[in-house]
């Protein structure tokens, strides 16, 4: 029902926040020195919606992500409406990029989950009860068997599922995924995105996926926002993929998604 509402409101520049819940970013500008990395970016993302923010390297995707996480100063407005209450910051579940993790760490998967679900110091050891709790959290994401592995021993897909499980323990209203496709094979990625899609239905959360891989993401999302310092194009995947500006920004890398509609039917 909610997604129906969202469709009616669409992505047009409506000034009011929508009725249910959403995060709205207006005229966001972030500068590093004199250079604007993000220039008047406006986004409106609804609960239950999976949105991909796609752009070439250096387009400001990571900056946008860090700004939403509250790590960078910005000009503009970030508003949210959660459960009918306006203004409260949404709880964010963040799935960091594989590259940005310390994969050499001796920390194992159980430790990582226990860090999130309990205040008990993990360096003193994990009790059997907590370790069982962690396994349950993980098993929802087909990752129960990974509990004893060091995080550096996981494959790309396994690590993404563990990080997703971790992010969901925050009971987020907004899920942020940073380049989830890097280092993950096609099968693993498909499993991962199916999990994400089922989550947004069950928990009615807004999902933002930041990636440079337009072709890989198109089949899994409701809406694509093309970012190159400012919003270049925005709309449903088929719309965006047939946009000329898009072809200009991304060039030949798009040609291998010509099979898009048939893939989408299968999902």
């Amino acid at each position: 029902m909610l997604s129906q509402d969202n469709k009616e409101i669409g992505s047009s520049a409506d000034n009011k926040l929508c009725r249910h819940c959403c995060i709205k970013i207006s005229d966001l500008t972030v500068r590093f020195g004199n250079k604007p990395v993000l220039d008047n970016v406006s986004l409106h993302i609804h609960c239950g919606e999976v949105v991909a923010i796609v752009g070439p390297n250096g387009a400001g995707k990571t900056t946008l992500l860090r700004t939403i996480l509250g790590e960078l100063p910005y000009r503009g407005a970030m508003e949210s409406r959660i459960g009918g209450v306006q203004g409260r910051n949404p709880r964010i579940g963040y799935v960091p990029q594989r590259l940005h993790l310390d994969l050499d760490s001796p920390i194992n998967v159980t430790d990582l989950v226990v860090l999130a679900i309990s205040r008990q110091p993990v360096w003193l050891g994990v009790t059997r009860r907590l370790s069982e709790e962690a396994r349950q959290v993980l098993s929802v994401f087909s990752a129960g068997h990974l509990a004893k592995k060091r995080i550096g021993e996981l494959s790309g897909g396994e690590l993404q599922r563990v990080l997703l499980a971790l992010a969901m323990t925050a009971e987020p209203e907004l899920l942020l995924l940073d380049e989830p496709g890097s280092g993950v094979d096609i099968q693993g990625l498909s499993l991962f995105y199916q999990l994400v899609r089922s989550l947004r239905k069950q928990h009615d959360i807004a999902v933002i996926i930041v990636t440079h891989d337009l072709a890989g993401i198109a089949t899994y999302v409701d809406r694509i926002i093309l970012l190159n310092h400012s919003v270049v194009a925005e709309g449903e995947p088929d719309e965006v993929l047939s946009n000329e500006k898009v072809l200009h920004t991304f060039g030949p890398s798009l040609w291998n998604v010509s099979a898009l509609p048939s893939i989408k039917e299968k999902l």
Partner: protein, 283 residues
């Protein structure tokens, strides 16, 4: 202390138990090495090895400042300088786009040069060489009281902040998304580190204090498979090399700090080999 002396009489071999200074030194080692083992895990995980090197060498400037101000015991100015340095580096890390490696290199040069310049006035640097090598056998009951206090402070701090530190070391953004103030966590950690290093520097010396902080954790990292075993192995390796190094230095008549570090290097080599053998058996 009295209780410890009686206990030590039972534990130590006869020829060692005769000397009060050996008992003091052993107690100091048993208290300092677990602190270093625990703090070292985060130094290594957060890639702060070079930072702690700079921190150790800032003691030279601390001693110099103490002398300029006419303070007899330089511990307090040493701590003050180290804490200022720790906070400054943490703030710089957030704002500078330059490589932290280079920034720290500049700090290292500055701290050493400033310290030596002041201390060498009228050719007087020789009397400060004990700070470079350290003297664990000269530890006083007063210093042991300080170290005992730090032991408990570190334990309480680690129980409260350990989880946040571990998460921050894996990914700062992930920690921040969970409403952890990574700046506060990292700054409080470096301040504690600064205090611990400055209190312990009299015992082990400026030149090698960093190895004592880094080696046990680095060795543990090679073999540990959980947060708990990472900490436990690091503490165990630290205490083992601390005690064996202390006794060996007594029998060999060598500097204790350096001897302890040699044993820690041995542990590191063994752990690295173990990790290699284990990896081969998996593949």
């Amino acid at each position: 202390m009295g209780l410890w002396y009686k206990l030590a009489d039972y534990v130590l071999p006869f020829d060692l138990a005769r000397y009060i200074f050996i008992k003091n030194a052993l107690l100091a080692v048993l208290l300092v090495t677990p602190i270093f083992g625990v703090l070292g895990t985060m130094v290594v995980s957060n890639g702060m090895v070079f930072f702690t090197e700079v921190l150790g060498h800032s003691a030279l400037t601390g001693i110099a400042v103490g002398i300029l101000c006419g303070i007899h015991d330089p511990t307090l100015p040493m701590i003050a300088i180290a804490v200022v340095l720790a906070v400054l580096v943490n703030i710089l890390k957030g704002v500078t786009h330059a490589s932290m490696d280079t920034v720290l290199g500049v700090f290292l040069a500055f701290m050493i040069a400033l310290g030596i310049t002041i201390l060498s006035r009228q050719g007087g640097f020789v009397k400060f060489t004990t700070y470079l090598i350290g003297d664990i056998l000269a530890v006083t009951p007063r210093q042991i009281t300080w170290i005992t206090a730090l032991f408990f402070i570190v334990f309480v701090y680690w129980s409260l902040t350990g989880n946040a530190l571990i998460l921050t070391s894996i990914s700062g953004s992930l920690a921040r998304s969970r409403r952890i103030s990574t700046f506060l966590v990292e700054t409080s950690f470096t301040i504690l580190l600064a205090v611990v290093v400055m209190v312990a520097i009299r015992l082990v010396g400026i030149l090698i204090i960093n190895s004592l902080l880094v080696l046990p954790a680095a060795a543990s990292r090679n073999v540990a498979r959980s947060a708990a075993s990472y900490t436990a192995f690091s503490v165990a390796i630290s205490m083992l090399s601390g005690t064996t190094g202390l006794f060996a230095s007594y029998y060999w008549g060598t500097a204790s700090g350096a001897t302890i570090v040699l044993f820690a290097v041995g542990c590191y080599a063994i752990s690295a080999l173990t990790a290699r053998v284990r990896q081969k058996s998996i593949h």
